[in-house]
Symmetry: C2
Subunit: 346 residues, 2 copies
DNA sequence: CTGAAAGCGCTTACAG
DNA sequence: CTGAAAGCGCTTACAG
């Protein structure tokens, strides 16, 4: 039932070679009339070449894999969207994979993707171990790792300067007069989290303040985790007057927890998030946060990936160094000057 | 460099046939020792069969295409997540496609997916025309359409009873004493929207109320669209005391618009959304909305798709009729009794 | 200007 | 218990 190149050849009374040439626009040396006739027939019967057969020969599948922790997190959703847009424009399909921050799932996906002969893999490094990137390097797949920021792992990495983002967020709070600044980390196994934590500590240090380990609690990058973490902070003998949540989802959770305890944001407790998801603008109060322009990140990632795919035979391109994807502080209303009425120890 | 089945055969001193049998666990008639030896070698060299070559023969790619309007809309993000989860569990990869509600993009994606020999396609019907489903039927691809609810188009459809959802939302507002109930539709070209509108009108009628066309304005299913639409409603000579927005994103936009004009939600204006996205709980005020259990929808969709794939030779399965995916009203705080202090005409 | 033939990496009758 | 051969639907030297 389904047409193949052979059928077209037969219908047009030419060889499959000729049809193939027309399909690939290598028509330099084919009679104009022949080309036209073949094109017409293809149109007429609605023939589409089987791209699987094609990729067996060319070795290019025009398909890439995208491994994110969870595409229902708006930050990853927006990243996936941008990546898919660029892929579509360039004729690449993208296979979506959710790792749930699990190295095991990550590795399983990478295996499946490689078996499917994808041309490249983009993945959000969870930084839990280098197994995933090692596997991809070992298999000679083109790949780009997003957000891994470890010096030395310089293959196909688009780094995001999370440390700087953490510094910005914390400094903002310091500038508002806060003395006890908590943070809701994301589980220190994750690179993302570690670097934001570095930025946090660095900002405190720069301001001559000491970091109090009791003020550092762990969430899970999800709303519920932020809520629980904030409750811990609130239960402290000397709760913080401001907290920096390592992503917006947890910041939203933190806001809920604060409100639920009868306090106000930002009058009683200031909160800064991280990611600048679209919802940040619409919640109450609008969230002060850190922005990493997602579209710019997607651009950098896809550029690097395409270059890596091109020269897969040689060495992958080096990391691209934060070009145009500097974190920015987005000031809205969830953080304000420290309220001196509230008793606090420095 | 890359291992093929031939290499394994050579290394083990057997034929490719034998290796292939081991790969496919058809080892009934192969010497135990041979099987073991081959398995070891495969393990040792880390050989993974090229699934592209395999699918050329079997005609199964174990890949499905998912066409959504926009995966950064949380409702679709959650749906995509659930579908990907099930796909992963069943050994299927999912290719993500964003149609932006455009029939043209939809058709282009379907073409590309078919050329890639995907086993099936899931797509959220925008109801703008039947071209997309017609194309899939014409090409004999297994597919499932989500949300299309037109009687007669009974091939591979998981219907969602949007009309009932619209009825529920509107009736809730009526029950709260509201007399002028506006609605923010999604552009009447979309099936989604039409049916919610039917539910809205039906509820009014059932309550013996007349529907006022001035109270029906169009958004675009995005936050900004909801905001603009609400501004229109607010600018009316007799603005509504309650509005039903056809999705949560537009409801959020509407809430912003109401607040920006100095009114309160729900004291001055009640708002009900649709979709029950995760954020609804966290915004201020928490959003009253309609829930269609996403996981149940994803389950129904995948079951139907797998059945369609199985019997692609025969006829597709019929639509599955709302089983377990009935809409529910989720009452939170964005809608309340009509405020009698505010002058209003019935 | 056009075609016959080999081959991509597998699976699957068929044969022994 | 095992293998030689054909074939999936294409592309690509090679030859004319």
């Amino acid at each position: 039932m389904k047409m193949t190149i052979k059928d077209i050849a037969r219908l047009c009374d030419v060889s499959v070679t000729t049809v193939s040439r027309v399909l690939n626009n290598k028509t330099d040396s084919i009679g104009r009339e022949t080309v036209a006739r073949i094109r017409e027939k293809i149109e007429e019967v609605g023939y589409r070449p089987n791209s699987v057969a094609r990729s067996m020969i060319t070795g290019q599948s025009h398909t890439i894999g995208l491994v994110v922790p969870d595409n229902s997190n708006p930050f990853f959703a927006e990243l996936a969207r941008s990546i898919e847009d660029i892929g579509y424009a360039e004729g690449y399909s993208v296979i979506l994979c959710n790792s749930d921050y699990s190295v095991k799932k990550e590795l399983a996906y990478v295996d499946a993707l490689i078996a499917r002969q994808i041309d490249g893999i983009i993945y959000i490094s969870t930084g839990q171990s280098g197994d995933t990137s090692r596997k991809m390097q070992g298999n000679g797949v083109a790949f780009v790792e997003v957000g891994h920021n470890i010096v030395g792992s310089s293959f196909g990495v688009v780094s995001i300067d999370y440390a700087k983002g953490g510094f910005l967020a914390t400094s903002h709070l310091i500038g508002l007069g806060h003395k006890r600044i908590g943070c809701i980390a994301g589980g220190i196994v994750y690179t993302h989290s570690e670097q934001r934590l570095d930025g946090y500590k660095n900002a405190l240090e720069t301001a001559g303040m000491e970091s109090d380990p009791r003020l550092i609690v762990s969430g899970d990058f999800r709303l519920e985790g932020g809520e629980r973490a904030m409750q811990e902070l609130l239960a402290l003998k000397e709760p913080p007057s401001a907290v920096f949540a390592f992503n917006d989802m947890m910041a939203l959770g933190a806001i809920r927890a604060v409100k639920a305890s009868g306090f106000r944001v930002p009058e009683d407790i200031s909160i800064v998030g991280y990611d600048n998801i679209g919802f940040g603008r619409v919640i109450d109060p609008p969230l002060t946060t850190i922005d990493h322009p997602v579209a710019a990140v997607a651009d950098a990632v896809m550029n690097l990936l395409f270059r890596n795919i091109m020269k897969k035979s040689g060495l992958p391109e080096n990391r691209s160094e934060f070009q145009g994807i500097e974190p920015r502080l987005i000031i809205r209303e969830s953080a304000t000057r420290r309220n001196p009425d509230i008793e606090q120890e420095a």
